[in-house]
Subunit: 597 residues, 2 copies
């Protein structure tokens, strides 16, 4: 959100004085001094200046939850809902927020999701909940960027959400690493089934950007210190445990899926060895038990937000937890959720993996676009983004229009939300509206960053209109379960990416055949592809056609229940930049943290 | 506590029916079904059967805290107190619980601490708080053994305390590993001051028993994946961050100490490179901010317990946090706290490191002894412990008597607490009482395991008596700050361990000279020695004399502010046993965890 934030500094600074400038900072359980220097970053300043309501008041006010047995407080402004809410009947309608193909200009999916939920809450007799992903610690210390919306469409308490929150990621790391330790202990004691140390596919994780851990040799030292072998660390959000956590429907399902994880193979690759063979799934589930209860916080407008789970959007499905979404659907009229990256990845995985497996049927989709991003897809240089250029917008529109068409293929109707920047002109916006209209889709301007829910009111009404006429029985995944894995890949590539075909490496093909033979052919596929193009080549922006999708490798996620399809190298352990943002983060003697954005 | 637990099964089973058998299990924020099968382990069964009070009621009832701004709830039964309580004037008296030299028979320090606090709370108009260490996750999955007391002297909620609790250990791991990632990032970008990759002394940590991580090679892969070098992982409680966390007096002190950590040296060992040179101390403090607020839970008798911090007792000082102790002293008449291992290590470090640095003056010490342990020190075979043998008790008494003498050298008076087992005979107990009496020290029988605070009432009265007549101005550490490091080691070895001298390796002596020259000579020393003997030879039980203490290596803990003295190999990353207890831990569909003891 950094690009957006700095661009909007002027407007926000003017507003902060009038709207929220005089409120007490209260980020911890003890009210903070108000003499703090205001941070330079407007997102951070707005978040810090916000006056929060106790979360139990928000629960009582917005969703009529008053029984203290049904939630657990984590401080005054965070709580965990009993996961059993996820088993109650859904009363709400599910809305997906997705986006055009991302560019350097940023899109603002989370900001739009929060603003839309705030906007829906402004409609008469209407409650809406934003169901979002929880951020990883890694990026917080690397390149600046909070992951809690922006401007006046944020979830708070910001510092808590961006740091440890309620400890979910720590619980996931610990569960993952318990299995890792038990695997090496299994090898150490030469237990059955005997793992081939060269075929152990389960690494370790840390919620940290730490490139030096990408490739490690462990078990050095001596006979008492493990068996030497090569291994790796991923960042926690890339763990299959995270994907499982987000797809499991209850504790029993969680335990079963954890048990199903394939951790490696016996000598010669003959037999798969599972987490259940190691015996770790019970203790892993015990470690995840509290974390599995969905987290609730509030938006700046004191509406409820569920923030729970946050898997990678490339090697995993990139959606917040099923239990969080279901709990929200049981409690409110609308649930606004998001998928990672553009609609080619985020919406496809949301529909084909999360909705398919969890039995969810979305009522509408919002496709977020910015005039700036359309110009980049239209071929304009990044330096020229602030100059009016209707032709460039027109030239970039094929990207957006293809995403609209793609979403329609799942039986879901969409509205385009133009995330407005001060430099956008009326003429440019009109181009977007006109071309969307030709596809029968409305495009509305949304100004939640500047005005919160009020700024997203038109979007909220458009979404309500779509939901009112939606027939969720028309929702269907792109391909049926029984389609062979290879054909599933082809279907996505040709139907959505508009590739002319798929080139699968020999290694990948061998594995796909084995997965098919071993009984995993019914699983959906999860394509790991660059988010910057419909193709597997990041430089092919806008709406490329006739390209070939190159499948280099595939991986089985037997617990998460999908087959990962790798179309290029995927970084699962980021590194820190030359000047990490951790250098600017600190806390003063009053306990106030600064530098998080 | 396992040995004790099984021995006491009969008595506890009989009691469970009459005292607590019909109470509702309520371990989560939603009341659990009562139809669970009772666990086999009595400690676990008692903990699960306990009816807890909401922690805010315990705070209001026991220490009159009612302002919700002064604490943060973590669920219904855990909270964090505002760390600023640690700055309020102390009104309470500080009591240390320590023990004779540990044996396989177990002593029960934590059980005694909890029971004593419950006993003191039974005295008229008296409040007492137990200030204890928080357990590490590692042992939970390795060899069975909860770390929350035992029998009817436990702190609850047991499962929470033994698993993630309020996330403190995760915060400490993350802060530690952020520094690690920033160090390798510093090396990757060749930043100044230039670290010698062979002289980086800062490893990584996980809160897990994982022997395969003891020795690792990291930075493999290629130029973008770090600089290859050998490194290591410790378990989190062995981290210097944990020691700092426990000794820091406020957030500013925490940040300063973190900045002081020496992470390695430049080429040739010329210059020390600190955490401040890397720039990590601000972000580390931000990560620790919430964790730094002391945790409060309750005993089975609904008295308050502070459980905060838990450093290793060998390479660190083995005491719970200074801020937790100080907060407790501000809130109650008595604070009962403990040190790790026997008094030669635990009491010495408590007095010479924690009390010295934090300006605390204890009013009394309790030395826990068991008839069984005395028999082992007296030379009896472990299989013969249940047979009456007054001579063996008499033969083992020199161990206990020496601990009593040693504690007196700090100007602190003590009482011996005989942690009673069903097989102890009156004659055996009388031997202990008589020989203690000769030194002018009372020995009282304590039955908190069987009877909670009621069972520790005589002990509580004895402690109250000592405190009433205590003159805390007589408390003094064993050696002055200005004594040279080498002499500090000698003083402890000869005065407390009764060694005839110290043999310091050439390498250690060189380092000690450098520390002295670099301005660290004023720090206390922290001796890492086997807990099973006054000497550095674990086989020399009872009260050896005339031995030599062999100092093999020393390490600077510039942030924690002590010099670690290694007298043998110290395991800082445990391994899992052939059959880890994780195999027995699971959670049922109602979210009830079993197998934790």
């Amino acid at each position: 959100m950094t690009a957006m934030s700095s661009l909007r500094l002027g407007a926000a600074a003017a507003m902060a004085g009038s709207r929220r400038g005089n409120l007490t900072v209260r980020m911890s359980f003890r009210a903070m001094s108000t003499s703090q220097k205001a941070p330079d970053n407007p997102d951070e300043r707005i978040a810090l200046a916000a006056e929060l309501k106790p979360i139990h008041d928000v629960l009582a006010d917005r969703v009529k939850i008053t029984d203290p047995d049904s939630y657990a407080l984590y401080g005054r402004y965070k709580a965990k809902l009993d996961v059993n809410f996820a088993k109650q009947p859904a009363k709400g309608k599910l809305v997906l927020v997705t986006a055009l193909t991302p560019t350097k200009a940023g899109e603002g999916k989370t900001c739009t999701s929060v603003g839309l939920a705030d906007g829906l809450n402004k409609l008469p007799d209407t409650t809406a909940i934003a169901a979002l992903r929880e951020p990883s610690l890694g990026p917080v210390f690397g390149v600046k960027g909070g992951a809690a919306g922006g401007g006046y469409a944020q979830v708070v308490p910001m510092a808590d959400i961006n740091l440890h929150f309620t400890g979910d990621l720590h619980a996931i790391s610990t569960a993952h690493n318990l299995l890792s330790a038990m695997i090496d202990n299994h090898i150490q004691w030469n237990a059955k089934p005997q793992l081939d140390v060269r075929r152990v596919e389960w690494g370790r994780v840390l919620d940290m950007n730490d490139r030096a851990l990408r490739n490690v040799t462990l078990g050095l030292g001596g006979t008492g210190d493990g068996v030497p072998r090569q291994s790796f660390f991923d960042i926690t959000v890339a763990s299959e445990v995270m994907a499982i956590f987000c797809l499991a429907t209850d504790l029993e399902d969680l335990k079963t899926r954890l048990g199903n994880i394939v951790v490696g193979y016996t000598r010669g690759g003959k037999e798969a060895v599972t987490c259940r063979d190691i015996g770790a799934e019970g203790a892993m589930t015990a470690l995840l038990k509290d974390a599995f209860n969905p987290n609730v916080v509030q938006t700046l407008e004191h509406n409820l937000a569920v923030i729970h789970g946050g898997p990678f959007a490339n090697i995993a499905h990139g959606c917040s937890s099923v239990v969080g979404t279901r709990a929200a659907l049981a409690l409110s009229d609308y649930v606004v959720t998001e998928g990672g990256f553009g609609a080619d990845l985020g919406a496809e995985k949301f529909f084909d993996i999360k909705c398919r497996k969890a039995g969810l049927a979305p009522s509408a989709a919002v496709i977020v676009a910015t005039v700036r991003a359309l110009k980049l897809h239209g071929g304009v240089d990044a330096k020229e983004l602030t100059t009016e250029n209707t032709q460039a917008v027109r030239d970039g529109m094929p990207n957006l229009l293809r995403h609209i068409e793609n979403v329609a293929k799942f039986g879901v109707e969409s509205v385009v939300s133009i995330n407005r920047f001060p430099t956008d002109t009326e003429a440019e916006i009109q181009v977007v509206k006109d071309l969307c209209k030709e596809l029968g889709v409305d495009a509305v301007v949304a100004e939640q960053w500047q005005h919160g829910g009020e700024g997203a009111l038109e979007l909220a009404k458009a979404v309500q209109g779509l939901c009112d006429k939606a027939d969720t029985s028309k929702f269907k995944p792109l391909y049926p379960d029984e389609m062979p894995l290879v054909d599933k890949i082809s279907t996505i590539a040709t139907e959505l990416y508009r590739a002319k075909g798929v080139d699968i490496s020999k290694e990948a093909l061998t594995k796909l055949k084995r997965f098919q033979k071993d009984g995993y052919g019914h699983l959906p596929v999860c394509i790991a592809k660059t988010q910057y193009s419909f193709s597997d080549d990041a430089s092919l922006v806008n709406a490329p056609e006739g390209h070939t999708l190159h499948v280099q490798d595939v991986r089985l996620a037997a617990g998460a229940e999908f087959v990962v399809v790798l179309t290029g190298s995927v970084m699962t352990m980021p590194g820190l930049p030359k000047r990490p943002s951790a250098l600017d983060i600190t806390v003063n003697e009053n306990g106030q943290i600064s530098g998080l954005f």
